[in-house]
């Protein structure tokens, strides 16, 4: 999962990025002003945006307006210093999905971001299930037929994204966008390496194949019998 933090306070942005990448395992990009934030958010590479309201150049609420006007549906969590009802209602009406008042609790922020991403992918629970494959986003672990899978962080991230998008084809580019931040050199063959490793760990020991390759399009996670 890929999260964008738009926050002009460098220190706060650093802390948020560190907390999210370290404890939740999401990939994080940081924008220090409104314009940069809007350009990044419009790329569509993000699963959630954490947005500060008081930003230089382009204010958070204007960014939100522009984002929603462009048809972007990325869930947005707003960080605000104002807690009064009117401004909260105004924010939600403008297209924000959630808000947290400063000073917030880091744990709560991460839980809300996770919930937002889950909901936006159509999942109600923190554990994703496909046949006998189980992925728990809270403990960041996966198991197949009751056997715990030993996954590297990158393998887990890949599986988490594929599981959250189960039933639809995910291209290599989409995977790259959602698994790496923008400063990373992107090589699409890295994805092939992770997919083959995941296949080895998930499909090799079981009777049913879950990871499918759609030639020329990408990858698909679903149960065989539906094919």
């Amino acid at each position: 999962m890929h999260v964008l933090i738009v926050e002009d306070e460098v220190r706060l942005a650093e802390n948020l990025a560190k907390a999210i990448s370290k404890t939740v395992g999401f990939v994080v990009d940081v924008a220090l002003d409104g314009n940069e934030g809007l350009n990044l958010a419009l790329s569509g590479a993000f699963d959630a945006v954490i947005l500060d309201l008081m930003l230089p150049e382009l204010s958070g609420s204007d960014l939100l307006d522009a984002l929603r006007k462009a048809g972007n549906k990325t869930p947005v969590l707003v960080l605000t210093a104002k807690e009064d009802k009117a401004s909260v209602i105004g924010l939600l009406d403008r297209g924000a999905d959630d808000y947290l008042a400063k000073p917030f609790d880091l744990g709560e922020l991460m839980a809300r971001v996770k919930a937002l991403i889950r909901r936006s992918k159509g999942q109600a629970s923190a554990s994703l299930v496909l046949g006998d494959l189980l992925l728990d986003m809270n403990t960041r672990s996966a198991s197949r037929a009751g056997v715990r899978l030993e996954l590297t962080p990158m393998e887990y991230r890949t599986l988490e994204y594929l599981m959250s998008r189960q039933g639809s084809v995910v291209s290599k580019e989409e995977l790259l966008e959602h698994l790496y931040d923008f400063n990373w050199e992107k090589f699409s063959n890295v994805i092939e390496v992770y997919i083959s490793a995941l296949r080895r760990k998930i499909d090799a020991v079981a009777s049913e194949r879950l990871i499918h390759t759609v030639r020329g399009h990408g990858y698909l996670l679903r149960r065989d019998e539906l094919q």
């Binding site: 306070e9 370290k22 002003d33 230089p56 000073p103 744990g107």
Partner: protein, 484 residues
């Protein structure tokens, strides 16, 4: 003590009316009295002439006079008495005339007396020549005539006239008091309505939502204008305070959010001792930043408060301008050295300004620090000090740094305004420095002005009231004027 305008107006009108009324009534009474007495007197004289006409000479005795009583017609109640020149009575009775009156030698006199309940008015003709003397050889024959007429009726008439005049006067007075009372109440109605409208103004200066009735009284227009201006000023002040509060809340909450997130980050997961140490160091850095923010806000608030409180009151202590400038330069020398910026100060002879030394050096520190931060390495900052007139000290700080964009320039003195946010974040600024500088300058009744060309440099000019000469009591340290 509360005085009613209505009461005062009515009292004034009443006093004026009373005077006018008394004058009119007095004049009317006087005139009536005169007119009545004059007609009474002419009637009296006419009757005396008629009596005089009855006196005739005795044909055979020259010098003798006689009275023809057969033709005498005396009105009821009249009294008369006629005597000849020798004092022999001819007709009537002298009993009613006081002795004093008869011995008088004046040809004609009037007097009033009372007999019983009747008041008489009497007149005497002394030595009156009789009317139809035929014998012209002897000197004219003369008689004395005394006549009295009851004056009760005339007195009564006069009394009635006085009563009527006074009554009419009092009635008109009462009428005018009533009408004035009513007119003033009616005249005050727009004022009452206006007061009611003014009552509807919110404590924050907001005018009532529904449009108020337009003021139609010319007298109330200035008041209306004044109240509207006052409301607008109150509103503007409220808006400024609200904005400041909202900005301050944002800054403070952000500062706390940073601290909290730094600590919570440390709490999560397992960290090595080195990581903990680094985390604690970061938390301390964040705390120092919060501390600076709070200190800046409180300083600004205290300066702005004293500015309002001690306006025109006891003067601030006198401070050596050059001394405070050198103190600031001394403090900033390491920073300038670190950024390879040289600061050249050209101080004038001793100048004395009325401001506290700590505030002045804070002012210079802020301005010079800004200049250093926006200067490229290797460039020079020039500080000129001069006395532009007898009571005006001028300090110019000129840098050839990055300058301020024209869009930002009008806002640089606003609280929490940052022209380059990401950069001032790195330098730890909150956008309060220039606000504080301006507050200090305004507290000393001076002025501050910034001119800037992007990429060419900025020049800050500060004017402070002061005078040439040494200050007693406060002296800045004597240091070399040249800083690296």
């Amino acid at each position: 003590m509360i005085r009613s305008i209505r009461g005062r107006v009515v009292a004034m009108v009443l006093a004026a009316q009373l005077l006018a009324c008394a004058g009119a009534v007095g004049f009317a009474i006087l005139y009536t009295q005169r007119a009545l007495w004059s007609s009474f007197n002419s009637e009296l004289r006419e009757r005396m002439i008629r009596v005089l006409a009855l006196v005739d000479e005795v044909e055979n005795k020259p010098g003798e006079v006689t009275f023809d009583s057969s033709q005498l017609k005396i009105q009821d109640g009249d009294l008369f008495y006629v005597e000849d020149a020798h004092g022999h009575p001819l007709a009537g009775s002298p009993s009613w005339i006081g002795a004093g009156m008869r011995t008088r030698s004046t040809p004609s006199s009037d007097w009033t007396f009372q007999a019983g309940s009747t008041v008489y008015r009497a007149k005497s003709f002394i030595n009156m020549p009789i009317m139809d003397q035929e014998n012209r050889k002897i000197p004219p024959l003369r008689v004395d005539i005394y006549y009295a007429m009851p004056a009760n009726r005339t007195q009564q008439q006069i009394g009635n006239a006085v009563r009527i005049a006074a009554g009419v006067g009092l009635l008109s007075l009462a009428l005018s008091v009533c009408s004035t009372w009513w007119a003033v109440a009616r005249g005050m109605r727009p004022l009452t309505r206006f007061a009611h409208q003014a009552d509807l103004i919110e404590p924050d200066g907001a005018l009532p939502a529904e449009p108020s009735q337009p003021i139609r009284s010319a007298e109330l227009l200035p008041l209306d204008r004044a109240i509207r201006q006052l409301a607008a000023r109150v509103q503007a002040a409220f808006r400024r305070e609200r904005e400041f509060l909202s900005d301050a809340a944002h800054e403070l909450k952000t500062a706390v959010a940073i601290q909290k997130s730094t600590l919570q980050l440390l709490e999560q997961g397992k960290a090595s001792e080195a990581e903990y140490r680094a985390g604690v160091a970061r938390a301390l850095e964040d705390t120092a930043r919060t501390e600076r923010l709070v200190a800046d806000m409180l300083f600004l608030s205290s300066i702005e408060h004293t500015q309002r409180a001690q306006r025109g009151e006891d003067a601030a202590p006198a401070t050596n301008l050059t001394g405070s400038l050198l103190l600031a330069l001394d403090r900033l020398a390491p920073m300038a050295e670190m950024r390879s910026v040289s600061v050249v100060c050209q101080p004038a002879s001793a100048l004395c300004v009325t401001a506290s030394e700590s505030e002045l050096s804070r002012l210079w520190t802020t301005l010079i620090e800004n200049a250093i931060q926006h200067s490229a390495p290797g460039s020079t900052i020039l500080i000129e000090v001069s006395a532009s007139s007898a009571s005006d000290c001028r300090v110019r700080i000129v840098d050839s740094g990055s300058g301020i964009s024209p869009e930002d320039l009008p806002h640089v003195f606003e609280r929490f305004y940052r022209s380059d946010r990401s950069r001032s974040r790195l330098t730890g600024g909150f956008g309060l420095g220039l606000s504080i500088a301006k507050a200090i300058v305004e507290k000393t009744h001076g002025s501050i002005e910034i001119q800037s060309i992007p990429q060419a440099g900025t020049s800050v000019e500060v004017h402070l009231p002061g005078s040439a000469g040494d200050c007693h009591g406060s002296n800045g340290p004597a240091r070399p004027a040249q800083q690296p």
